[in-house]
Amino acid sequence: MNISRPTSARAHLSTVPLWILPLTFLAFFFFFPLARISFLTFSASTFNVENLYSAQRVAWFTFYQAALSTLLTLFLGIPSAILFSRFDFRGKALLRALVVVPFLLPTVVVAAAFTSLVGPRGLFSTFQSSLFPFSSFAFHPSPFVLILAAHVFYNVAIVIRIVGAALSNLNPKLEDTARSLGADPLRVWLNVIVPLLRPSILAAALLVFLFDFSSFGVILLLGDAQFSTLETEIYFQTVRQFNLPLAALLSIIQLVCTLLVSILYSRLTSRTSYSIAPRLAPAHKPNNFKQKIFTFALCSLLAVCFALPLAALPFRSFTRLEADRGQRGEIHYGFTTDYYEELFVNRRGSVFYAPPMQAVFNSLLYASATVILSLLLGFPAAFALAHPTRLEKILDPLIMLPLGSSTVMLGLGFIVTYGRWLASPWLVPFAHTLVALPFVIRALQPAIASIPERLRQAAATLGASPFEIWWNVDLPILRRATLAAVTFAFTISLGEFGATLLIARPEYPTIPVAIQRFLSQPGGLNYGQAMAMATILMTLTAISIMLVEKSRFPNAGEF
């Protein structure tokens, strides 16, 4: 005890310099803007009847749609969790990947995929009207249904991960014991499995609710301007109505709500101790009629629900189904590469001042800058957090705070604080870094913490100098985690929509911004280009996901 005290005191001192860079960054780009927003909120012009009324209306709808989406997600997610953790069947790995991938896709891509399938200009409604031109029968899902479907689509993965992990970690002998004590299979579920899963179901529900509550891209792109949640309303009030006080008020409401849910979530997960023994309950082939029916039906449902939107998007991007704007004469329906070719053309009167392909290059540039920035800030923070002292216990929640705040609010904060610098495209990577930093830290920190001091001591006794220890021990162990962190930062930047939409200069659009602008314009060509852009973004993200899956550090923090 006495011997270790001097070193821990030294360690305590030595973490302070590590914090200088990350904390300065957060102070300038998060806490200061946050203070400005609060200041704006509690100014006299905010609290008038009109503002309060719309705030209340929007907050209610946000809560309502999030709660409904969460319920529906659990409804599909819990059976899917059972399917994946209890049963083995052919094509399981593929189906699992298919169901999990949407969670990792940018919300803009998910929204685009849904419009390409069941949106008003999507494959389904076009085929429907060509098949039954005079029929009164028509299936046009309302925007609200589309929003709910998209939320379920990308959040089922959360339920499968959390509840599925809890299911696999359940000791199968508990079920055996319950059976031998006289419980039939149904009562085993009711009296043993469900009570033991309850914390993880609740945790999954809270997390899904958090994502649905702060969902922006899906609601903006699928909601057809009829629906607005706190997030989209912040955007509308900032960009269209220039009612910054109301926008600020909405952001504060949003922040308080998400923080409350986050606190509940972390309370819950810290109380639930998951068993360390991995995979106690092995999956097995469905071995009776009921199990076979369950497996087959759910597999088919999941395959259809998840493969169709993901396939529809690239398919639609190569298919002409309607006339382009101003296009006259004969129209060739069917296969086309026009939408991609058009991305390289700088048309007069088009949405941009540059060939749309410029957006792809901008996105890649921003993403690279985000990677560098977030590693620069993330590494020192992760090193300090790996061996937490009292200082780190205070700083840890602070540094994770941007995770709980909405990206639109981050954008609003940039506008009200650094409005005069908005002409510079370099504000965008800073916003992206703010979003990516918590993920980067959570990817690096467990890897750094997992290197036992004894390893370094052993290397030292074997004759390694401090540099050789770092080079031969630390670095190889951290390489995989670093790659994961890089990919996190890169993908997050590629897909970031909320903040970017508010602060990106019109002449420097990113891919998600370009998709949004194409979708908000009339005409088949614009729509097609949106599909093409979304397909490019999906491909880029998929490549990143594959990289990160291959290099995943086993203990990396999940969320």
């Binding site: 319950a178 059976r179 031998s180 004590l181 006289g182 039939d184 009570p195 033991l196």
Partner: protein, 348 residues
């Protein structure tokens, strides 16, 4: 002690089970009598736990039938069998406290509240956990957790109790204490029990009869003393650690049933009732304890150079350079040549 005229209550007939192409159990048959404790003893992977799970109804045999009271259990699901099951890792329900864990089986039987609390209290008293009812199972020590598991299995008044390495997770002193308690509970309740373990001391301490599983078959069955005295095979002798197992070749029959056996570690003269032929190879068991009378003509000599000495309880385990070992009261010098007279018997 046991009266042989008691009727058998559980009977396994030609049970076989394989996983994929590897047979795990082949043609297992045995019976269990009323009030009897049978121990299934075998190395890990010998299929003893699988056998238990089949009796509990948690797995189905590929072939063969399990009878209880002459009734074929094949169509009886586990929850209707009334068999208590106790696992090595206790498998206590972490979301329930001690009382609710013990009451679980009674609640499944929709018993009245008063009767439940009465029976739970009785069971807890039986396992010396009186007053533990309100405790969380997660705060209990390993030994206490295992007693809760036992109480939980006992409350349903099972027709049969099954133990799957119940003491495997506990340290040695705790294991001995709990084993004694378990034995007294079994004796008092007279519930027939099957006890699975790989630990021969545990098996011999608790069982009325041991069954030794090897390569999917029961290769030796009998009361502990019988098995100890006559292991009947080299595997059983080695598995139970009865002594030195020596392979040798029969070299000539001597008067009545004595054979001369030549082996790598010397020649022995063995009394044997088996039918052997000249030149046949046999396995001998040389028990490591010294024959009482040094001058007696019975017994054989083990010779060798002392390679290692380990003190054990009240004697020294002396290992010779040829791999043989004996227990001696006094420690010889390492490197010295010794000659010890021991009992040697023929195994098969």
């Amino acid at each position: 002690m046991r009266v042989n005229s008691k009727m058998s209550i559980l009977a396994l007939a030609s049970i076989a089970k394989s996983y994929g192409d590897t047979p795990l159990l082949q043609n297992i048959s045995f019976t269990l009598e009323e009030g009897e404790t049978v121990c299934l003893l075998g190395a890990s992977g010998s299929g003893k736990s699988t056998l238990l799970r089949m009796i509990a109804g948690l797995e189905t045999p590929d072939l063969g039938t399990i009878f209880f009271d002459d009734f074929d259990l094949a169509s009886t699901p586990p929850h209707l069998r009334d068999f208590g099951l106790v696992f090595q890792d206790y498998a206590l329900f972490p979301h329930l406290n001690v009382n609710d864990n013990v009451a679980f089986g009674l609640k499944m039987r929709r018993m009245g509240r008063d009767e439940i609390s009465q029976r739970v209290a009785n069971s807890l008293e039986l396992v010396n956990l009186k007053g533990f009812g309100g405790r969380s199972v997660n705060d209990l020590s390993g030994g206490e957790q295992q007693r809760v598991a036992l109480a939980r299995a006992l409350t349903i008044h099972p027709r049969l109790l099954m133990f799957d390495e119940p003491l495997g997770a506990l340290d040695k002193t705790l294991r001995e204490g709990l084993l004694n308690e378990l034995r007294s509970v079994l004796r008092r309740t007279k519930i027939p029990a099957i006890y699975v373990t790989h630990d021969q001391e545990e098996a011999f301490a608790i069982a009325d009869r041991v069954l030794i599983l090897y390569e999917g078959n029961i290769i030796r069955a009998g009361a502990p003393a019988e098995v100890w005295a006559n292991p009947q095979s080299a595997y059983v002798a080695e598995f139970l650690g009865l002594g030195n197992v020596i392979e040798g070749e029969l070299k000539g029959k001597r008067k009545n049933s004595e054979w001369k056996v030549r082996s790598e570690v010397g020649e022995f003269v063995v009394r044997c009732d088996h039918k052997h032929l000249e030149g046949e190879s046999v396995c001998l068991l040389a028990r490591p304890t010294v024959c009482a009378g040094r001058r007696r003509s019975a017994g054989n000599e083990l010779n060798g150079v002392v390679a290692d000495i380990v003190f054990q309880k009240d004697s020294y385990k002396v290992t010779l350079d040829n791999g043989l070992y004996v227990y001696l009261k006094d420690a010889p010098k390492i490197g010295g040549k010794i000659s010890v007279r021991v009992e040697v018997e023929c195994l098969e």
